[in-house]
Amino acid sequence: MKLYDVCIIGSGAAGGVMAKELSEGGAKVILLEAGQEVDPSQFLSHKWPYQLPYRGLRGEKQALFYPKDIAPVRYEHCDPVGVDRIRVLGGRTLHWNAVTLRYAARDFRQGLLDGVDEDWPLSYAELEPYYDRIEQIIGVCGNDDHLEILPGGKHYLPPLPWRCSEHILGRTLKKLGIPLIDVRKALNTRPYDNRPPCHYCGHCMDGCDAAAIFTTPDCMLPKARATGNFTLRTNAIAREIRADREGQARAVSFVDRLTKKEEEVRARIFVVCCATVESARLLLNSRSPQHPAGLGNSNGVIGRYLHGHLGGGMHIYLAELEGVKPFNQDGATDHTYIPRYNQLFGKADYAGGWGIQVNFASYMFPYQAHDMAGYGPAFKERVRKMQPGFLFFGSFGKILARPDNYVTVDPNQVDEYGIPVPVVRFRFGRNDYALWRALKQSMLEIASNLKGTSFPHFGNSPGGFGSHEVGTIRMGKNPKTSALNSFCQSRDVKNLFVTDGSCFTASSEKNPTLTILALSLRAADYIKEQRRRGEL
């Protein structure tokens, strides 16, 4: 049987950059991806609602990315959170919103500075060169805004022009002492990386049919393929990673979704990139006499510290734009961003903060028609007149990483391939509640300073995770409370790496993917170096 240098499992953000880097570095790489390849011509992005069976209200546009055979999750003793598990070549990069934010220096040191969470085993300075490199590989529009809370790079594509609503918001925020900046998105505002510029259709989260946004299939895989070192197996669901007598990873067994046959791939190094829930599931399902609690889990940490983002949204209809002739506001979803600001206003009784994404909801649907009381001719006219003034806030707030929030597996409940399903247990803590209340109050205050009508959507308690789940196979300084070192390498199993969001020690309010990409890039460099030295 062929022995590959490296087997990567999962082709999302983390797996894509790993595959490109290691193939380019001369390693013979195989990438196993559970999902199918979806050609952009199959995307339903530009379809009108009335061309879809349920008008798009039942997720028809994303259905290709979420096939029915994804194992069910069992939520046990859980607050209202949902974990996102996709199954398609490219993972969630296929329909992400591409907001790319660097963690700040202080985000890596929240134990020391805020007395919550643990410090990361690496600093901003150590990750900064990788942020610089990854931003250039994927192409990011925006600016260096010279903010301590949101460090910037030097190589941005031109920012997106602001809509009228964003100008109005910017003026109001200025009075409140809150910055509004050009959003940073992995999106082409001019041709870049042999990919065309954006055509401003607002469909990023339905799949970009133009390759104007960063995705693994459009940006990373062509480069991996060009090396001749790269093999891709789609529809390959990893079941377990098998260990040799010394306890090192030896092979991965997988089931082919199409033939239902069991197969095995052997490699010298394994890189797990299945995303937070599925990566933990895979390692916990990989039990052997050497690893009775799961591969690399001698300290029982794997699966623990599950967290993500909490938040809430707000629909605002600005008076200044009421009744104007409708005009095309789609753009590329968000064009601006409100970076974390609570630290500017003194000390709070909770740790952490939130950022607010602006205008990533579709301009096509009048959400106010659901929020407003009334019916009949006056109602209809009011809905119509309000629509051009639409402004949307979506906030993402920090959740603390706590060991009693976890993913585990249940050997007694298996999916249709006989693989034990994930079980999720999650409760918000005191800090999370306090932060959520402050976030809510602050967003209401911003809205009250804008002329218009606002409809807050916070629910009665915090919810999560905004597709930003992280933390289940964390890196750390302390070997008792972490599974990986700062290069995403397992402490127990030298030839096992985990580079998706599960490797996060703790979170900030920032969207995680740029940091996932930077960490994966750094781990790839480390693997190359260790191979050169004959250590791996």
């Binding site: 609602p49 069976p53 979420y66 949902g82 022009p161 409708p326 209809k380 919810g463």
Partner: protein, 173 residues
């Protein structure tokens, strides 16, 4: 939070939203603009009543046609027909309550009575039915060609060479 909000915000607050994104999708070949649609759940009589109620919620006016011309009751039929028993039961019962109430006063009176709960928490089956009825009317109308193009005159879902930014000099900085 409502499902029709951007998928991501929804994922923040409901357990079921993400699984729903991948499930429940079957191509039914429904052409909403044209074509014959055969009722799957409502009886002809129920559909007639629903059609009237929906047109009262979003009526035709000088600006654009209303829910009737947009065939929103047929959209409701498909949605309810493909929902669980609990939902089906709510609609059947809700329309019956509306009919009974209309017999006592008028259809306009029945709708006004049902809508009374909107500003507080709905407290009767009739009031709870109004929430479902209005929600369905809004969803169906504003996702129809009439709602999107004629009423809202939505200008997007296009391919632009560049994005112009704010075109109102008074509002731009």
């Amino acid at each position: 939070m409502k499902r029709r909000t951007a998928i991501k915000v929804v994922a923040l607050s409901t357990l079921s939203s993400i699984p729903a994104a991948g499930q429940g999708f079957r191509v039914l070949g429904v052409a909403w603009d044209a074509g014959e649609y055969r009722l799957r759940f409502f009886t002809g009589q129920e559909n007639e009543l629903l059609d009237k109620l929906m047109e009262m919620i979003i009526p035709a006016d000088a600006h654009s046609p209303g829910a009737q011309e947009a065939r929103v009751s047929l959209f409701a039929d498909l949605m309810v027909a493909t929902s669980g028993d609990h939902v089906k039961e709510q609609w059947r019962k809700g329309l019956r309550l509306m009919r009974e109430e209309a017999a006592r006063s008028s259809l306009a009176g029945a709708l006004a009575k049902a809508a009374a709960g909107e500003k507080r928490k709905p407290s009767s089956d009739l009031e709870r039915f109004f929430t479902a009825l209005k929600g369905m009317t809004v969803d169906g109308y504003y996702t129809s060609a009439i709602g999107i193009h004629q009423d809202l005159q939505y200008q997007g879902n296009t391919y632009l060479a560049s994005f112009p930014g704010c075109q109102f000099p008074k509002l731009a900085d």
